[in-house]
């Protein structure tokens, strides 16, 4: 058997996807003009598949801070923090994150993926239990593989199912660690965190919330779903990323656990990776200040979310169940999804194509991410183009067409 034979089905799907004329998984942005504009195939397109929710990638404070750090401290740290040491910026960003979340401790990882790997694999030992939502991000599933714990899935966003599973474990001695996400990355729905926190208290479990997509987006201060739902005290560990609202790359965890600092010598994905370069640390630190000082960005984002979500829902599209910066347009099958995605790009809008098995319930999705910097005109154009394309594929119910037109 050949090395790559087991990817046969994957190769077939990829070949099918490419027949539309563009490989959705290798789109080349020839020039990036702003958080919401780029040149693809020689043509300017609206970017709506970026997770750049607050549009901070070109914010002048972030760019200036990164430039200063780059010139002062060089291009990279060339090693891990336990070997090469920490720069002042690493400690400064950790302090800023702890302050932002009102927590005692913060640790920074090189990517968001590694933050989940590093935290979950270190928290859960061989006698412990990781109890994860079934729609969890790949980084949470992979973290489970890296950990030596017993891994149990509960039904997506179902606190009753979570309760049942914890009840079954009542007699087991190990720690129980529940893992959920603030906003789920495919459908954009939020965890029912108050109910999950109640179950957590009932069984004396620990609760980890991945606020990757909800930091900067939810809560009056942008601290995410735990803040919005008023249950921050029940969340033992918040994990997050710098590659969405904060506009760069990296990951983190904050906590009040008294023994938290041991992770620096126990968490392998922290210990054995080069640390983030000074320019990234500086831009993220600046972005954190921008989020704190500019709540208007968040209000603008939600106005934009409302415009896109209501526009598409009103036209008859089936969307994710909850309004949020991820607007997931459901399509009937992978072939149509690929065609619609391609036509949308040709017409000047870039969104993400998400295909089974990466999507919940095997539904093909056009995953649009809304940015605070999108203009009303851009959002209107997105709705109009999608309706136009969907009409040609006969995807919308006739009454909805009339309602729109």
């Amino acid at each position: 058997m050949g090395l790559f034979d087991r990817f046969g089905t994957l190769a077939q799907t990829h070949a099918m996807v490419k027949t539309c004329g563009t490989d959705p998984f290798s789109v080349r942005l020839e020039e990036v003009l702003s958080p919401t504009r780029a040149v693809v195939d020689g043509k300017e397109v609206i970017l709506a598949g970026t997770n750049n929710y607050l549009g901070l990638t070109f914010h002048e404070d972030c760019v200036a801070a990164a430039t200063r750090a780059l010139e002062a401290e060089g291009t990279g740290t060339t090693g891990s923090r336990i070997a090469n040491g920490s720069y002042a910026g690493h400690n400064g960003l950790e302090q800023a994150l702890a302050t932002f979340f009102g927590r005692q401790h913060a640790i920074v990882f090189t990517t968001g993926y590694q933050a989940n790997l590093g935290i979950l694999s270190a928290l859960a030992g061989p006698n412990d239990y990781l109890i994860i939502d079934s729609d969890s991000h790949a980084s949470i599933y992979d973290a489970c593989k890296l950990s030596s714990a017993t891994v149990i899935r509960f039904k997506h966003n179902d606190p009753k199912d979570l309760d049942k599973r914890l009840k079954r474990l009542e007699k087991q001695a190990g720690n129980k660690i529940i893992v959920v996400e603030g906003i789920y990355s495919m459908l954009g729905d939020q965890a029912p965190l108050a109910e999950i926190a109640e179950v957590k208290r009932k069984y004396g479990a620990y609760l980890v919330v991945d606020e990757a997509h909800s930091m900067g987006v939810l809560g009056n201060w942008g601290r995410g779903l735990a803040e919005q739902d008023g249950v921050e005290a029940d969340v033992d560990f918040i994990v997050g990323t710098f590659s969405k609202s904060l506009g760069a790359i990296g990951g983190f965890c904050v906590s009040d656990h008294p023994d938290f600092e041991i992770l620096r010598v126990a968490s392998r994905p922290y210990m054995f990776t080069a640390s983030l370069p000074p320019s990234i640390i500086a831009s993220v630190t600046a972005a954190l200040s921008v989020i704190r000082s500019t709540p208007g960005l968040r209000s603008q984002l939600w106005l934009n979310v409302k415009q896109l979500y209501d526009g598409l829902a009103g036209a008859g599209f089936e969307l994710g169940p909850q309004k949020g910066p991820i607007v997931a347009v459901h399509l009937p099958n992978a072939e149509i999804a690929v065609q619609v995605w391609h036509e949308l790009l040709e017409a000047g809008v870039y969104v993400n194509l998400a295909l089974p098995p990466a999507t919940p319930n095997d539904v093909p999705l056009l995953r649009c991410s809304v940015c605070a910097a999108h203009t009303k005109d851009e959002l209107r154009k997105m709705v109009d183009l999608l309706v136009d394309i969907a009409d040609r594929y006969d995807l919308l119910e006739p009454p909805a067409k009339t309602a729109h037109g």
Binding site: C144, R168, L169
Partner: protein, 69 residues
């Protein structure tokens, strides 16, 4: 219960490979597992699930989990 997922209607024996012989896709397997978990009031850990290939493996796992509960 597995019969519902057995599209090609092959005979189900203890040596039947769930993924290969019955051609059940991974989503259906996950749904099937969740139904089994509800039915037997057990949780089948993901790390145990990855070692299960045949109907016999599955039955043995469920029996063991029921005994441990």
């Amino acid at each position: 219960m597995l019969q519902a997922y057995n599209k090609s209607n092959k005979p189900i024996e203890s040596g039947t490979d769930i993924l290969e012989d019955l051609e059940v896709d991974s989503l259906s397997v996950m749904n099937f597992i969740m139904k089994l978990e509800d039915h037997f009031d057990i949780s089948i850990p993901l790390n145990v699930l990855s070692d299960i290939r045949t109907v016999g493996d599955l039955a043995a796992t469920i029996t063991q989990l029921k005994k441990d509960a």
